[in-house]
């Protein structure tokens, strides 16, 4: 007979979770599905990255490291460099643009914050293809931007912005800005205003307050936001495909090209794993800087 139940809103640790010898039956369908349709394919990709390409594009189980070594070619290194470069630039721009917006929302009265956050998120919830297409419409030679600029007499002939790195950058920043604003907002919202006031009282300059008080205390939010932007940016596919054209490939497009055009699956798998490695590296950076007791939490403590 179980002991009398106490009315409490917190789970009573003596009853749950029940100790068992293995995962419950409820868990098995999920394990089977994910095992079969996620982990197995992943393992397969790892395995294939060490295999060789068959004559007609299949896989020949002739194990080799050649695929990884092929990547060390200026042709492919350029693609990787572009991906990392664009991802870093996107992250930096998102941080620059997102911080004022996040700060503004965080300092609004609490009942208005929800509305503004919604305002920031709504564009994000529209279809990504549609949002990317909007920039094709604006940036192309006969597009809105050039039409307006030429109509105003600012330029004589159309700027060729579409199908360049700049277009990809604009598209990526546009796509992932909300990902930066939200964590920044969360971190700034936790910042105790009395700390900023104290800095002012101690005669800090505007930049001093920014650099020495606000930024260090919102660091977890900044790191989270940067990660949330960097990871999808480095593996971006749609944006460089639609806005970049054939000459500005990122890693995502390269993978698609190797799989569907060149039909070199082992090589494509190797590139995929390298992309995965870049993502995991980013995550490691995040977990390294996420030490307990730092950042905004401490800010609140200090404010008393």
């Amino acid at each position: 007979m179980s002991p009398p139940v106490q009315p409490t809103s917190r789970p009573d640790p003596s009853h749950f979770p029940v100790k068992r010898r293995g995962p419950s039956r409820l868990l098995w369908p999920t394990l089977i599905w994910m095992g079969l349709f996620f982990f197995l394919p992943l393992a397969l990709t790892v395995a294939i990255s060490f295999a060789s390409r068959g004559t007609y594009g299949g896989v020949v189980w002739h194990l080799t490291l050649a695929n990884y070594l092929t990547v060390v070619d200026p042709l492919y290194l350029k693609v990787f460099a572009r991906s990392i470069g664009l991802a870093v630039a996107t992250t930096a721009l998102c941080l620059l643009l997102g911080f004022p917006l996040a700060y503004y929302i965080a300092r609004l009265p609490a009942n208005r914050q929800g509305f503004w956050l919604l305002l920031v998120m709504v564009p994000f919830w529209t279809n990504f293809l549609v949002r990317t297409y909007a920039w094709i419409f604006i940036l192309r030679a006969e597009g809105l931007m050039n039409t307006v600029l030429m109509g105003l007499g600012v330029i004589d002939h159309p700027l060729e912005v579409l199908y360049s790195d700049s277009a990809i950058l604009i598209g990526l920043v546009y796509g992932y800005l909300p990902f930066m604003v939200l964590p920044l907002y969360a971190a700034i919202e936790r910042l105790a205003p009395s700390l900023v006031e104290a800095a002012w009282d101690l005669y800090a300059t505007r930049w001093g307050v920014m650099w020495h008080v606000i930024v260090p205390l919102t660091r977890p939010g900044i790191v989270a936001g940067c990660l949330l932007v960097f990871i999808p940016s480095v593996g971006a596919f749609i944006t460089p495909d639609l806005l970049g054209g054939a000459r500005t490939m990122m890693v995502g497009n390269l993978i698609q090209h190797e799989f569907l055009v060149a039909r070199d699956w082992p090589f494509g798998s190797a590139i995929s794993l390298l992309l995965m490695a870049m993502v995991l590296a980013g995550l490691l950076v995040y977990f390294r800087t996420e030490e307990p007791g730092r950042g905004a939490g401490r800010g609140k403590e200090m404010a008393g």
Binding site: T30, F38, V122, W135
Partner: protein, 256 residues
């Protein structure tokens, strides 16, 4: 100093919002433009919407997207619910590791997931079709459902279900009459989110769809690749309207 009344702060924030909304507004505005090619306004027309309504391929694509969305969401929710309960209520060695592993699909680049699934289906000689797309969608939606339900489950007081058992309920009765109703808002939220993610998905679908398995995003992609026409603007406007309606509905539901 860094008060809200600082003009540059307000200016920067408004500029940001403008940046976020202007492209969408522009897209919708020009879906009514009577000119086919140029970006100068040449009169109002609904022709592009009319063309859209006659598009058979579009209708098929929307139907496929709805079907895949529905099926994959049902699978993901059913499995995810079981997994959330199984993880929350029973402790076993390796539980934490398993939890982390099940979240991996959320982090992995979509291209990688698409490509590895394509390899898998080819290697097991399974032809690419709506079935493979549905399987893929269920696979990446499962962690989403799991995270949402797990979070909600953690906040539920297990003594309620326990009390039901003490009063003689079978485990199924305790679940269906006590736990499930309490979980319902989270389940609905998860269902809505999973469906939206599935409906909008492009990259994974791109790699796992075969001929004849065109979903709406794939259809939009092929339209965009064929060239810029105001018909795409019209379709975009409809999709934007649909998303906003869905968001509005979900907000209203959550307010109740």
């Amino acid at each position: 100093m860094l008060s809200l009344r600082r003009p540059w702060l307000i200016g920067a924030s408004l500029a940001n919002l403008l940046f976020l909304y202007a492209p969408i507004v522009v897209l919708i505005a020009f879906s009514f433009n009577a000119s086919r090619l140029s970006a100068t306004w040449q009169g109002f027309t609904l022709d592009w919407y009319r063309l859209l309504a006659q598009d058979e391929g579009l209708r098929l694509a929307v139907g496929n997207s709805l079907l895949v969305g529905l099926l994959s969401t049902v699978i993901a929710t059913a499995l995810g619910l079981g997994a959330a309960l199984g993880l929350e209520r029973h402790s076993f060695t390796g539980r934490q590791f398993l939890e982390g592993a099940l979240l991996l699909p959320l982090v992995i680049p979509e291209v990688m997931m698409g490509v590895s699934l394509m390899l898998f289906f080819v290697l097991v000689s399974m032809p690419l079709s709506l079935v493979t797309v549905t399987i893929a969608h269920a696979a990446f939606n499962l962690p989403v459902v799991l995270v949402i339900l797990r979070a909600r489950l953690r906040k539920l007081d297990p003594s309620l279900e326990e009390a039901a058992r003490d009063l003689g309920a079978t485990p199924w009765q305790a679940f269906s009459r006590v736990t499930l109703p309490l979980l319902m808002p989270a389940v609905l939220g998860a269902v809505l989110l999973a469906f939206t993610i599935s409906f909008d998905d492009f990259i994974v679908t791109f790699f796992t769809a075969g001929p004849g398995a065109t979903t709406l995003p794939l259809y939009v992609y092929s339209m965009v690749k064929s060239g810029v026409t105001p018909v795409i603007n019209a379709l975009s406007a409809i999709l934007v309207l649909a998303s906003m309606t869905l968001i509005g509905v979900s907000i209203v539901i959550q307010r109740r």
